[in-house]
């Protein structure tokens, strides 16, 4: 769907800033509500995430000593900004992305990991023990899921023949019945699990495991900084879901498409969240490098074989069956 609006509105209001905050908060509520429903309890009211953010914004922001003040304040802002910037290249709400150029897939994934980088830096910046341990865990987890997640996203990109998200989205829409989720089932699984690793959802929430290191890298943050980080996380959730829906679930043609596909995705993600115990950081890294990266490589190999051997094979088969 084409969206012709003034670029400023695209940037600030509709699929860009404000709407994204609201969508992020809504998706966080849906996620928390679903996890609650899975655990047979009621869960928060729908404006709870908004209430949390308002409360945090109203609270005084304490800058602990032994911390680089400028960095302490700048990090949440940079984190949120990078998440918002990544939103421009992604087909939010089924409309074509506001800006797209060849190779913006790499830029989006890189911008999303800038957010995690800010989180790691925020933890390392303070002298508090918990956030130092949290920071090391955040960064180790960042390096462990980055490669497999990227490889799994490259699957559809190679088949579509471009690295431009809007074109991959268009390609996926055309080959509608053949969702990439079915043709590249392994890539889809790795991408799903990669998304949960990026958003530090259980079982990969070792970097902010409250029973071990209080709130991990965010232990020292309160007030505005914490609110911005939380918003950044929500925005990342929305972008991640749209990215996977666009790539693996037959593209996003219109808002309705966007709604029901992300709804299914969040249903599955919430189920995965409530199914597992938290993995220790060494187990997550082990899982990622051993299982994740290997599977993603196998998937790529399968695609390459399928893509370039396809003319040779079909000719061979047609020869065989007297085509």
């Amino acid at each position: 769907m084409e969206l012709s609006l003034h670029p400023i509105i695209l940037l600030l209001f509709f699929p860009g800033g404000l709407f994204l905050f609201v969508a992020g908060l809504l998706y966080e509520w849906v996620d928390r509500k679903l996890v609650a429903q899975y655990q047979n309890r009621i869960g928060p009211r729908f404006i709870q995430p908004l209430a949390d953010i308002i409360k945090l914004l109203a609270k005084e922001e304490i800058v602990p000593d032994g911390v680089h003040k400028g960095l302490f304040i700048a990090l949440p802002i940079v984190g949120l900004a990078s998440a918002l910037a990544a939103a421009l290249y992604v087909p939010l709400v089924g409309f074509n992305p506001s800006y797209s150029f060849n190779g913006d897939l790499i830029v989006v994934v890189y911008l999303l990991s800038v957010m995690t980088l800010c989180l790691g830096l925020a933890g390392a910046n303070t002298a508090d023990r918990f956030s130092l341990v949290g920071a090391t865990r955040t960064l180790t987890q960042l390096f462990s899921y980055e490669a497999p997640f990227m490889l799994s996203l490259l699957g559809p990109a190679i088949v579509a023949g471009t690295w431009q998200i809007s074109e991959i989205n268009a390609f996926a829409i055309e080959s509608r019945p053949w969702w990439f989720a079915f043709t590249q089932i392994v890539g889809f699984l790795v991408a799903m699990v990669g998304l949960m690793g990026k958003l530090e959802m259980p079982p990969f929430d070792a970097p902010e495991a409250e029973t071990e290191i209080v709130a991990g890298a965010l232990t020292e943050y309160s007030g505005r900084g914490l609110a911005l980080f939380r918003l950044g996380k929500d925005v990342e959730l929305v972008i991640g879901l749209t990215l996977i829906a666009a790539f693996f679930m037959g593209g996003l043609a219109n808002p309705l498409d966007f709604l029901w596909k992300t709804a299914i995705l969040i249903l599955v993600v919430a189920a995965l969240q409530s199914l597992f115990a938290r993995l220790r950081i060494d187990q997550t890294v082990g899982l990622w490098w051993r299982a994740g990266a290997l599977l993603a490589l196998l998937q790529l190999l399968a695609i390459i074989l399928g893509r370039y051997l396809q003319p040779v094979l079909s000719q061979f088969f047609s020869g065989l069956f007297g085509g």
Binding site: A36, Q37, Y38, Q39, N40, R41, I42, G43, A271, S274, L275, F276
Partner: protein, 140 residues
């Protein structure tokens, strides 16, 4: 070695109503034996003070208005009481019971926590002698 052993639980509760009780909007009927607020029946009291002696939290004070014809008033401190019902057990004349309905005793001030149980005329007698000589207590 299953991957998600709790899968059956979470899928089933996806379609089940959450079990959380919505107190105070929905109040479940309290069990008959719930040890709620103390109820004192002055008519049968003989002033043996056994309940006062064995109360761990000294939440009960029996004030004798008139020893001869058995007129007593109980000052019950609801905030000190631990609701163990030892007084109910001690009282051979069943003057003390614990209500099962009245268990919400939160209050904003301390006054509701000091409850005076007694016959009308006894309470009145106590108040009169309190005005007469505010200083000293009636013969305890």
């Amino acid at each position: 070695m299953t991957i998600g052993a709790m899968l059956s639980d979470i899928v089933r509760s996806l379609f089940k109503k959450p079990v959380t009780e919505r107190y105070p909007f929905e109040r479940k009927p309290t069990p008959a034996r719930l040890r709620g607020k103390l109820i004192y029946d002055p008519t049968r009291c003989t002033g043996c003070m056994l309940c006062m002696k064995d109360c761990t939290a000294n939440a009960i004070e029996i004030i004798t208005v008139d020893k001869v014809n058995k007129k007593f008033v109980m000052r019950f401190h609801a905030d000190r009481c631990t609701y163990c019902a030892q007084c109910v057990e001690n009282c051979r004349f069943d003057c003390i019971q614990m209500s099962a309905e009245d268990y919400e005793m939160a209050a904003l001030t301390r006054t509701p926590f000091e409850v005076m149980y007694g016959r009308e005329e006894d309470l009145q007698a106590l108040l009169d002698c309190a005005e007469k000589a505010p200083g000293d207590e009636p013969a305890a």
